[in-house]
Each structure stands twice: as structure tokens, then as C-alpha cells.
Symmetry: C2
Subunit: 238 residues, 2 copies
């Protein structure tokens, strides 16, 4: 009866943790979309709202960490149960970082005061964001459903995001070469593109956490890497 009670208490704790992670996920997804929307529509107020809301995400992460630690101390879970708790902590850490990256984009909205706005550039950023937001959504669903194949699909999909980021960087470089007045604006977009690419990396981290939770070990395959922005030296001639 005692151990049955403990098992039930553990389940309740775990459900609460999972609920908090889902809450964080909802906020983080919203922040991604809103920060890029704010950039494209130059909506400074919306950008500021993303900056403000990040504090909620930070508070939730601390709360999850606190509850997870208490659950471990009180219920002394073993094996798969323990991995569930550690998994919740890890996912919360990645979501907190996603929030930081979106917040950084939100801050940049106020800086984009220029009339130079080639639609094509924003399309690239939007396309990247759609993909990454879908990756984040899919991996959070996979986490909630303990769906390993779905998590692995996200893990593999990161390559496409990285490829788009590299091509966007090249395009931004050409605009900078063409006219120095575009430089400042393009740099902001580069940092934003890099932020979105990093959000994608966090989605793959979460996929690795799902793997660890289900399989009980770390993933050994090397993650596919399509991002070449750190290697891009040659600038297309314009």
C-alpha cells in the first residue's frame, strides 16, 4: 500500500511537471512567431511584448527545476521514472534558451528603422521561422506522446533549416556589398537568422532528450549539420 501510494504521488508530480513543460512550450512557440512577426511588420510594441514575456518563461523554468528536484528527493524514482524527471528539466532548459533567442529578436525590432526591406529577405526569414516553429511544435508533441519516431524526424529535419540559414546569409551578404547603407539592417537580420537556426538546434536537443527518456541512453549518431555560416568566406559577386 505504501509503495502504491508513492507510485501514485509520483504520477501526480510527473503530471504536474509535464503540464508545466507544456505551458512553457506554448509560450516559447508564441514568442518565436511573435518576434518574427514583429520584425517583419516593424511592430515595436509586439517586439517589446516578447521581451517582457520572457520573464514568465524564466520563472517557469526555475519552477520546473525546483519541483523536479523535490520529486526526486521525495519519491526517489528509479530508471525510467527518473529519466522522465530529468527529461522534463532538460526540455525546460532548452525552452528557456529558445525564449532568450526570441527575446533577442524582439529587442532588435526597434533597431530596424529603415526603408530598405526587400520582401525576398523577409520571405527567407519567414520560411526558416515556419520550419523551425514546426520543428519545435513537433518535438514538443513527440515529447508529450513519447513518440520516438516523431522525435527522430525532427532530429533529422534540422539539416534543412541550416541550409536555408546559409543561403539567407549569402543573400544578405550580396545586399551589403551592393549598398553600404544596407549593412546595419542586414546585420540585424543575420543575427535573427542565426537565432532562428539556434532555436532549431534546441528542437534537436529536445529530440535527443526524448531519445534518452525512452531508450535510457544518449543518442550516439552525430547530428546532421547543414549550417555552413561559420565557414562562409566567399561572397557572391554582385
Amino acid at each position: 500500500m505504501g509503495s502504491e501510494h508513492t507510485a501514485k504521488a509520483f504520477d501526480t508530480d510527473l503530471q504536474e511537471l509535464t503540464r508545466l513543460v507544456a505551458e512553457m512550450g506554448g509560450i516559447a512557440e508564441r514568442m518565436i512567431v511573435d518576434s518574427v512577426d514583429a520584425l517583419i511588420r516593424r511592430d515595436v510594441a509586439l517586439g517589446q511584448r516578447v521581451v517582457t514575456i520572457d520573464a514568465d518563461l524564466d520563472a517557469l523554468q526555475k519552477k520546473i527545476e525546483e519541483r523536479a528536484v523535490l520529486t526526486i528527493a521525495r519519491r526517489q524514482p528509479m530508471a525510467v521514472d527518473l529519466r522522465e524527471i530529468v527529461g522534463a528539466m532538460r526540455v525546460a532548459t532548452d525552452l528557456e534558451r529558445i525564449g532568450d533567442l526570441a527575446k533577442n529578436m524582439g529587442k532588435r525590432v526597434a533597431a530596424l528603422e529603415t526603408d530598405f526591406h526587400p520582401l525576398k529577405l523577409f520571405r527567407g526569414l519567414e520560411h526558416m521561422t515556419d520550419l523551425v516553429q514546426q520543428q519545435v511544435k513537433s518535438v514538443l508533441d513527440a515529447y508529450a506522446a513519447h513518440d520516438l519516431p516523431a522525435a527522430m524526424a525532427v532530429w533529422k529535419g534540422d539539416e534543412e533549416v541550416d541550409a536555408i540559414c546559409t543561403s539567407l546569409f549569402r543573400e544578405l551578404l550580396t545586399y551589403m556589398m551592393e549598398d553600404p547603407r544596407n549593412i546595419s539592417f542586414c546585420i540585424h537580420l543575420m543575427f535573427c537568422a542565426k537565432n532562428i537556426e539556434r532555436i532549431g538546434d534546441h528542437a534537436t536537443n529536445i529530440a535527443e532528450t526524448v531519445f534518452y527518456m525512452i531508450e535510457g541512453q544518449a543518442i550516439t549518431d552525430k547530428r546532421p549539420k547543414g549550417d555552413m555560416t561559420t565557414f562562409a568566406t566567399t561572397v557572391p559577386n554582385t
Copy 2:
């Protein structure tokens, strides 16, 4: 006797955790210095070594998390003891991120194939790196010694780093405006400067963890922020 045994076992666990965090700290500090050295001396092999060593840091972080969780489950520590364990996990997370940022700089070394190398630019980067490396060193010492005033000094010192980063960004912008052939090189340096600035942010995170460990609550003051790179729209005339 039983509780004395538990207390002793806990102390041993905690010492081991602290030792592992110190090991991570040593590696991370080395990576910061080496990555910037590699950039300045265009030492591709050294840059590659930084990239390679990052896997050690990741493995250590996972090991610390694992041991911390086991310690919590086995010893069921309370209050200050629990905060010590949570603190070790948090510091390990920040050190792991510092490693990622240094690794990103290491990757960029191979891309800096250009003859354009104004010494002044590198001096700015070096100066920032010296400061940040000192911040990381000081905060790790403060963590090891439970020295709250020392940790708070680091926390407040971040402002200077951010100010140097902003001024370096402005300088890089002028070089880009002057000659489009400098653009690609300067963008790499901007991303590196931003990485170093973020490493400084992680040093302040660690300072906050020291505060939490000692005071038992989160720091409430807003962190001083001198980094204006996300707001920099105006480019100095050249």
C-alpha cells in the same frame, strides 16, 4: 550513526560534484583563450582543437547532471545541501554553453582567410576576451569559495564587457562601410564579439547561482545591461 553516515556520504558526493565542476571550469576557460588566440593567429589547428574538446565538456555536464540526480535521490538532502547540488547542475549548464560559444569561434578560424587584419580590431577583441576570461575565472573561484561579495563583483562587472562589445560593433561597422571587401571578415568578428559577450552573460548567471546557493533565493535586482548592440542603428560616418 545512520544519519552521520548519510551526512558523510553526502559530503563525499558533493566534493566529487564540485571537483567535476572545477574540471569543467578549467576546460571552458582554456577554450575561451584558445579560440580567440586561434582567431588572432589564424591557427586553424588550434581552432579545430577547441571544436574537438567541446565534446569533453558536454560529457562532463551530462555526468554532473547524472551524479547530482543520484545524490538527490540517495541522500535526500534538504535546504542548503539541496541548493549545493542544484547549484552544481546550474553551473555545469552555463559552462557547457560557454563551451558551445567558444566552439563556434573555433569553427570560424578556418573562415578568416583574408589579409585584412587591422590590429586595432583584434586588440578590441582581445581586451574583451581578457575581461570575460577574468570574469569566468573570478566567478568560478567565488563559486568554489562560496564568496558572495566576489560573485556580486562579477555580476556588476558585466556592464563593462557589454560596453566594449557595443563599441567594437560600431568600429566593425565603419570598416564594413569603408570597403565591402571587409564585410565578410567583419561579420565573423561581430559574431565572435557577440559570443564573448554571451560568455560574459553566463559568468553573471553563475554569479546568480552563487547568490541562490548562499542566500536561498533568486536575486531580485535587475542585472545591469550595457550591451546596446541590438539597438545600434546609426552607423558612424566614415
